[in-house]
Symmetry: C2
Amino acid sequence: MTRILYDLAAADPNFRFSPYCWRIKLALAHKNLTYETVPWRFTDKDVIAFSGQDKVPVLVDDGITIHDSQAIAEYLETAYPHEASLFGDPPSRALTRFIKFWAEDTLHRTIAPIVMPDIFKILDPKDQPYFRRTREAMIGMTIEELAAKRDSFLPLFHAALQPLRHTLAAQPFIAGAITSYADHIAWGALKWATMTSSTPLLADDDPIIPWMQAILDTYGL
Amino acid sequence: MTRILYDLAAADPNFRFSPYCWRIKLALAHKNLTYETVPWRFTDKDVIAFSGQDKVPVLVDDGITIHDSQAIAEYLETAYPHEASLFGDPPSRALTRFIKFWAEDTLHRTIAPIVMPDIFKILDPKDQPYFRRTREAMIGMTIEELAAKRDSFLPLFHAALQPLRHTLAAQPFIAGAITSYADHIAWGALKWATMTSSTPLLADDDPIIPWMQAILDTYGL
């Protein structure tokens, strides 16, 4: 039985920064599943063409190919029902969908403008023209113009984190006493942000930091 | 058995706009509980002094006084366990706490600058100096200066709603198939916004609108 995850990498093949891939690495840990990763670059479209699309994460689980982080998480929940649940019962699963959209529509959008210029610098040179072209079209300015405004984006990032900070003041994890996919989603966003940022994004006493560590500790990572 | 809710009112005593009071009116409907409301103005501090503090909602349930919307919702859940649950099981309850903080830390903060000048105009004249003093201290500008910038706040409001819109495209209510306190929280925010705004805040085809109506329909309101 082989289990392979195609995982976005920088020029350094061991530097893995995709928030969507991080979700799945935590979800696999949550399900007690071992796996190997293949470092993948934005322009390695041919390498994952077998999945029928061109983005990671792609999971190949004993011959079954699944792409898209949400589809992979749902696959893992169904395929490994005897391991701890990622989502909990239907109401928790529905509420976790809100967390997913909050992360993508609100939190990621405050992180992207901060770290985009930092990520550009660490990418494999073959990925840089692709990244520049796609991201500059997305944001409507050059990466250098974005970098010049960096400090102006920090307050929005900190404001977007307030609901998470307040939640973690009331309970250890987003769904209460134990870790769940809701944590994996938010952790992925913050791992992406903090590992790529050229400056520290979280103050030493930010409650986000011990929560991030507690998740790693839960899975022995 | 009497059940009385002190409910924030404008100059028109039937115009009730507090998002926190709306949460509780929906929670009471969810629990199939009848109640009477007392219209209350910001400066009626003496009227609720018996609750030990000076803000609404205040619920008096057969002689038991509870204040603070979260404390009231938790009281109703405990006191009326045989009615439909507001929160669901512990993980859903924990996730609903995130919805509360998202509403207060993110959504309310995008609504307040839009509607504050509109609310000022409809308040009982006795409340206006209090409202002006407290809100201007909060926002660091006059209500008139805020009103002049109104249009600039609308994009932030619409951006903040994106996670809710995407969630409702996937499922009828925030916690899935049936209404819960998570809906009451978000509904309260949007009722506050839409009923006080001097301009329509939601486009006719906004998916928020049928969701708001579906909640009313659920409770026969």
